[in-house]
Symmetry: D2
Subunit: 336 residues, 4 copies
């Protein structure tokens, strides 16, 4: 960390600051600019806030040189993490596709979609049992009953299930029955939830928050890893910007940026990322070309009757064709 001082600092003030730094266990080095005096700190600064020294009157600003995340950092863990659920893998060089409806609505619906996406080559089944909805008056998901239906679909198709956990009250059930626990975008900085889920040591799909930077996503993963869960897939699902033609702005550059910064696998959600079913195909292909390890795609047998997110769901037929194209693009960009 580098602490930039204001001009014309009183020597006793600077001595006080230096003393404080030393008392925290750092070594301090003087750095001279032309019109600027700086102090460089050596030692483990990962636990320090950038603001720690901003409290001192004589400090102009501070500069963090290194990342605050350690366990998620490729610098210290160069090998790719591969998530493996009964042979269904994310991060091993294959293209893992997670597919299914926004919400579980009935046994018939989830079984029908699960069979269709399995047949087309999906590796995981998604489906919401507990739904975060921006209106208290909207359909809130089937809850435990939805979870039971997902289990039936898993037993019929062999697809591991991915579903969202919204609070700590269902931790036990999710630990027992869910294969990959999804943390939704709105909960990415729900630190109480991250702390508890981290202790379960299960595979987790962690979605990037609408207004969260790539570094904050990695810090959220760090919470989960500090709790003992290391099988984490990071999910880019669009950020909030001024553009309104799409529901969110899918930040595909985040894929190669994350591949450089972390060893964790990266999944892209073109359904939430765009909000329009007809944008799902081009953005799924673009994500594949950008180097994503997986995709999560909303598929519904009758999108125009879906209880949730029908506008961004594709039909099993469209999904089937898309899977062929994904395969072709994945081969085109693979190094062999």
């Amino acid at each position: 960390m580098i602490v930039v001082l204001k001009p014309h600092v009183a020597p006793e003030k600077e001595a006080e600051l230096r003393q404080y730094m030393l008392s925290m266990g750092f070594t301090v080095q003087d750095i001279a600019g032309e019109s600027t005096h700086m102090l460089g700190l050596a030692g483990d600064t990962s636990h320090l806030n950038a603001e720690t020294f901003a409290r001192f009157d004589i400090v102009d600003h501070t500069i963090k040189v290194r990342e605050s995340y350690k366990l998620a950092n490729r610098r210290f863990h160069p090998d790719n993490t591969v998530i493996d659920v009964n042979g269904h893998k994310i991060g091993d060089g294959s293209m893992a596709v997670i597919a299914g409806p926004c919400s579980v609505e009935s046994e018939e619906q989830i079984l029908s979609v699960a069979r269709d996406v399995a047949r087309s080559g999906a590796a995981f089944l998604r489906g919401g049992a507990f739904k975060p909805r921006s209106s208290p008056y909207a359909f809130q998901g089937m809850g435990m009953e939805g979870l039971d239906l997902l289990k039936i679909a898993r037993s019929k198709t062999g697809l591991p299930i991915v579903t969202e956990l919204m609070d700590n009250s269902c931790l036990d059930v999710f630990e027992k029955h869910v294969d990959v626990i999804q943390i939704g975008a709105r909960n990415m900085q729900n630190f109480s939830l991250l702390r508890e889920v981290g202790r379960l040591k299960k595979p987790i799909l962690l979605k990037r928050g609408l207004a969260n930077t790539i570094d904050e996503l990695l810090m959220a993963a760090e919470y989960l890893m500090a709790g003992g869960s290391f099988d984490i897939a990071l999910c880019e699902r669009g950020i909030r910007t001024f553009e309104t033609a799409t529901r969110n702005t899918l930040d595909l550059s985040a894929v190669p940026v994350l591949k450089e910064k972390t060893h964790l696998p990266i999944v892209v959600d073109p359904s939430h990322g765009t909000g329009h079913w007809n944008l799902v195909e081009p953005m799924a292909l673009a994500a594949t070309a950008a180097g994503a390890d997986g995709l999560i795609i909303e598929v519904h047998n009758t999108p125009h009757l879906a209880l949730c997110d029908g506008a961004q769901s594709i039909t099993p037929e469209v999904f089937h064709t898309l899977m062929g194209k994904i395969q072709r693009v994945h081969e085109a960009v693979s190094d062999n």
Copy 2:
């Protein structure tokens, strides 16, 4: 709601859509544009998603004409809501100032700050016992012990306490001991939490999320109100934009916009909104001039030693002078 159709729609497709609308209990009206055909829906559309009809192939897009919030809507509840905790009020035309440290750190600290801010005219004491921190390695707050210290400070000063609730595990304790429950920005769309807190029927300070629109803030309030809690203060605390000179961009226009849309009182947080202690004064005064009902300000006796947010905390001395200025600006803009 208005549903805009694509050009050259097959009559049987349009008939199917109309039938569906009628089956949901709406009356349907044809609206003709020059190159556009639209269907207008009358009936209660507040429970409808804008996307409900976007699922139909023949629909170009849909337009929501009315707000989805009812209980929070000034259109239906024209009179201002006034929160009253033992005579300490927010929304009655006075300027309610909530002040105190980011985190409770010790009995001595919280008592000292509480006495200082009470003496300067603060109406409520703030202080974090449970802290949402972006790093798992940072100080996470004193927890229950911090809550006990806040209670001591309340008994010594008479100031009601405002403190953040992070998850459902502490609902009982907060119900019993906290005067105003704060929902933090990162939990504004933690719908599980909103649902449970709403049932407590206690005063709530609801902070706007970093990437949330004014309408989404009102929908979050609607969650709390649908649960039975009507004493809600909305808090503008800065949104995330491209500008990095400040920690967030304080959206003061939200104050008059909210005053028009809702009857709930509006509080502004210039500390989190800017992230720099020297910007707290000008933005506190600006918020007052913009018509805010209250302010929430971080005050620390020794900011340079604070365990959290020291960079944006002001000293009791600065706070004291600021209170005088706030008073003068409040008088200047009051209609009398």
Copy 3:
């Protein structure tokens, strides 16, 4: 256009508004909601601002149903525009790659890069002669001399040249010597410039502004087309968001969105869109998979010595390998 009225409007006020609408040549239709009264306007509203009626006290808000752009609108011009400069095409189903250095620096440099990119299959040569720089103290380009060097490079390689026009003072020279005139992101809403350039009736590469929506980009194209220039390629080059890991956020969803809204070809700039040379390859491939008609890529023979944008330039060797991959991805997504 739909004009939503406030509740409880005085009849004479409404009559006055109606009269005004009729006087502007529109037909007016009543639309009834449950708690809302609206007026629907039929007629050509493309010349109207959404705010035109917002001036009336009794108007709550107005809703624009149709786009303001006509000439650029695929609704009225369904066939793809193909730009053809001596057989070098953009928009014909091939993948047009525009490559070259950020700035022309010397004859040796531009000739060397031009030959390299031509050999690798680029269709156009880019190179800045006049440079928009955020600091008045930075290198501002070689000016006319740079243009002369580009002409030499064109004569040696046969590649048409694409270069940026910054103001009206060079219109004549650009008209005579430049094949495709680039309007930079910072000038996308320099309407004086758009008006003049539109009159030249030359091919134009129009870059999206950092903070401009897709609709505003189309309105800027409309300016050029209203002047008589119809061969316009739109360029997505990243928008400004809160994320700082990349120089801008490349909005690849804009590609399929634009393909739907307009008949003009779409080019993507992964160099400015990311700001980092090692992100150019994945984002170039992603843009190709998303359906772009072309790419514009910064290539420099010695990036570490470039006078401008060296950080985001790739070497001719990296470019050569990339061209092979672009070809493979383009084939994978083409329908045949």
Copy 4:
């Protein structure tokens, strides 16, 4: 500037980089972190791009410690700049109000508004003769005729005139006849225009671009100052964010931030900053409380018939009342 190296750098590569730095006239200092090696540069780095060294393979990233603007920097010019046009001042501690219609529409209109705002205490008259409009089909201003009408209004009221210059073709006329030349938000980074206008050495009102940071605004001012114009008022007029309740998000924190960074006076535009006439009053008062040196406000005698921006214009009556409130708030925050 600090250059952070990647780990495990080959010594000969580092030597090459050092040699390059020395060749540019800098002195180089080693800075050691625990897992990081950095090089500190001393010398005048204001002409350097942050990316200058990013071209070298061994460089992880670079950190700019000091601002790139010199002439606009309060660090080197601590005294406030005061603009004085025949005794009408901006920046002298008074509250300078610039008022008038969006566009000049007729002699009757501009004279009527000019007299009204003069009577209410405005110090300058604004009015657009050349208008930047996002649609080529919208009213583009009266041009030279509008300028003539502004001159008449000036002669009748004594108010200096502020009007926007859109391109270099009118430089002479503006030099001769306009008192304060306005550079609009869309032209803030039109560097050709900045260069030419800077040479005129006239007072300039420079508006912040929709997507421009505070530092970029200061760099644009630096362009003007490098040309010889030192009387520059910076204008905050709202930035583009995800919030759509207002036309832009007025960033009032920019006022105290700018007061700290620069000696130039700061003007706030609550009309464009919000886009709604009923938000103009609260935000004008908030800007005054935040410490602005001036305001620019759209006033129209018949807003519902205005050819431009009627939705955000206030009437002379509303303006008159507002001026009284501005005065009261200004006194409340002034130190005396």
